[in-house]
């Protein structure tokens, strides 16, 4: 039964399989032919029994005929006998038991069951010296080590109370805010509100190496008064420790901002901390501290990227100007301040356009925004100054000319920057040419068309087109004493214009048959 190759289904009759033991005579009567006519063992044996199956279709119903014959191998090299029981069949693998487990593990544990597992060991030995060098560099996310422990960036854990056990990770820009309980009585005793706590231990320049240490210098100290006014101190050399003065506890650290300078070899070469210190009075039970850390590579100017290379949703759209006077575009000037680029009007709580001058919010990639305000027009307002004021309101003081198409576009690659196209439409459908009326802008709509660029697996957002449309309306002259309120809106819309992905198929292989160039030799 083991030798019957057509017996595939267990405990079921296979169709046209005459050697299947699961088939009954009734099943045989339905067969048309025998798919396997002869069943033998290994035919290299000198003599063996063979079962021959055939179907007698003449009989009614058809029945299977079974004959057992002796098959002889005439070759002189036929196997007469074997003393090795797994000689002619596949051996079933050994079942691991508690006795032979260790031996089986030793035999089969390596990848190729070879008898020389030492060759693998030699390779790993050669690798470890270079690995040891690698551990001395800081890598992204590795906690920055100081002489005693880690550079601490207190942050809230579970609740909003500060926990001092949060290490700052290398190249991980973080900003945290947390609450710390204080009181005037324990002014000098709480370590975490003293400047010394944050600059005490030096940072190790390389991981695990105590030879090179970087001291944390105090870059600037800002004193915050009780009513919230900030004063920058001139001399930042003096360390200001908490002390009690006039029933107030002064020089309490309210905020620390670390700036770490690193090299491209993963070493820290400079560390500076800027402090905001303040004062608390007797009623204060807790203060909120804010901490920040940022990393700058040495000899580079930090330009905050909005994506690398495609824009990341939520990061500001980078924009800039072309410098005047140059015949060819050389470079795009842009403001390195993260939020000082493409901005739109920001709605304020009192919704009055003229009182909310200057409040602008940056345009963040992927976030459609609408903002607006209400403009009160009186009869006394003149057209031209009003138009100019509204344009300033809608576009801001410095409306950029170019927008970066990628999140990491460099200033010197002018072709990576997309110019902003300006359109102007009028609200009135029918423009009466005879009306010498005033057109005032009432809405600015910025439409940013972007596309998915790059591979299907990791598409990058790329800005293709930016249009700024100003809609104007006619300012009807009001009778004196009356006033009107018109809404001013500005909006930003991001549209995805990526073309749908097309599957790419490989070209059909072609048979490239060419005769040799001298095939027709005598004639050519």
């Amino acid at each position: 039964a083991k030798l019957c190759v057509c017996d595939l289904l267990v405990a079921q009759c296979d169709v046209n399989c005459c050697c299947d033991p699961d088939c009954s005579a009734a099943d045989f009567s339905l067969f048309t032919t025998c798919s396997v006519p002869v069943v033998t063992g290994d035919n290299r044996l000198c003599s063996q029994k063979a079962a021959i199956y055939s179907l007698d279709v003449e009989a009614n119903p058809p029945e299977r005929i079974f004959k057992l014959v002796d098959q002889v191998n005439p070759s002189v090299f036929c196997i007469h006998a074997t003393n090795y029981k797994e000689a002619l069949s596949f051996s079933s693998p050994r079942m691991p038991t508690s006795e032979n487990f260790d031996q089986l593990l030793k035999e089969f544990e390596s990848a190729t069951f070879s008898a020389e597992p030492d060759s693998w060991n030699m390779n790993t030995d050669a690798q470890s010296p270079s690995d040891a060098k690698e551990t001395y560099r800081y890598k992204y996310g590795v906690p920055i080590q100081t002489v005693d422990a880690f550079l601490r960036l207190p942050s809230p854990v579970v609740s909003s109370w500060c926990s001092d056990a949060n290490p700052a990770g290398f190249l991980v820009n973080q900003a945290t805010k947390c609450t710390r309980s204080v009181s005037v009585e324990k002014c000098g005793n709480i370590q975490a509100v003293s400047m010394l706590f944050y600059i005490n231990s030096s940072i190790l320049a390389k991981l695990h190496e105590f030879v090179f240490q970087v001291n944390i210098t105090v870059q600037s100290v800002v004193v915050q008064s009780l009513n919230g006014m900030w004063t920058l101190l001139d001399s930042s050399d003096v360390l200001r420790l908490p002390m009690i003065l006039d029933e107030l506890c002064i020089n309490i650290v309210l905020g620390v901002s670390y700036h770490i300078t690193y090299t491209d070899a993963g070493e820290i070469i400079e560390a500076a901390a800027s402090f905001v210190v303040g004062a608390i009075n007797k009623e204060a039970l807790s203060i909120q501290q804010s901490f920040e850390i940022s990393f700058t590579q040495v000899n580079t100017k930090p330009v905050p990227l909005s994506g690398n290379p495609g824009y990341v949703v939520g990061l500001p759209v980078r924009a800039g100007f072309r410098p005047q006077g140059y015949p060819f575009p050389v470079e795009i000037l842009f403001n390195t301040n993260k939020h000082g680029q493409l901005t739109i009007l920001q709605s304020t709580s009192n919704q009055d356009c003229l009182s909310a001058q200057g409040a602008r919010t940056p345009v963040l990639f992927g976030y459609n925004m609408v903002s607006g305000c209400k403009l009160r027009i009186t009869a006394a307002m003149k057209c031209q100054p009003l138009t100019q004021t509204l344009l300033d309101l809608l576009k801001g003081q410095t409306f950029p000319e170019y927008v970066a198409s990628f999140g990491n576009s460099q200033a010197q690659d002018v072709l990576d920057w997309v110019p902003i196209t300006h359109f102007q439409t009028s609200e009135q459908r029918i423009y009466n040419a005879f009306q010498s009326s005033c057109q005032i802008p009432i809405s600015l709509e910025i439409e940013v068309k972007w596309t998915k660029y790059g591979s299907l697996v990791n598409p990058q957002a790329r800005i293709v087109n930016v249009t700024a449309t100003i809609t104007t309306t006619t300012l009807k002259q009001l009778p004196s004493g009356r006033e009107r309120t018109i809404p001013i809106t500005s909006s930003v819309v991001f549209t995805d214009i990526s073309s749908p992905a097309e599957p790419g198929y490989k070209a059909w292989p072609t048979i490239n048959v060419k005769l040799p160039f001298d095939f027709f030799f005598p004639f050519v």
Partner: protein, 134 residues
């Protein structure tokens, strides 16, 4: 021929045995190589077979030399020793006939012939020893 006790048939048989054994040795070695290529022949089974074949060759050389010398010098001691070694050779031949890992039909034929030769030789040796002793 009472002055010559050496057995001529025995000597002829030794000569034929020598030639046949060379053929037997080469053929068995070649077949072991063939079996190791065609069949599954693990090292644990291959090593004993090869070792026994080489031991058998050494024993055969010794046996034929001693037998021939004993027969020609009409001494019974080497001839007796040769008879004892023949017993060992017979056992080895039976191993190759029955207990080998793979016994092919050719193996059966070769070993059967060898055993027949050993049997005939043993009879003639006994007769020769009897002649020398007396």
């Amino acid at each position: 021929s009472s002055y010559q006790l050496s057995s001529v048939p025995l000597q002829i048989l030794f000569y034929i045995n020598g030639i046949y054994y060379i053929f037997y040795f080469l053929a068995t070695l070649a077949m072991i190589v063939y079996k190791s290529e065609v069949f599954s022949y693990p090292d644990d089974f291959l090593a004993p077979d090869l070792a026994l074949l080489f031991i058998m060759a050494i024993l055969e050389v010794l046996r034929l030399y001693l037998g021939s010398k004993g027969n020609l010098t009409e001494e019974e001691a080497p001839l007796g020793l040769s008879l004892v070694i023949t017993v060992g050779s017979v056992i080895l031949s039976v191993y190759f006939l029955v207990w080998q890992t793979y016994v092919l039909k050719a193996d059966v034929i070769l070993n059967a012939l060898l055993l027949f030769t050993y049997g005939l030789e043993s009879v003639l040796k006994v007769v020769a020893i009897a002649a020398f002793v007396s």
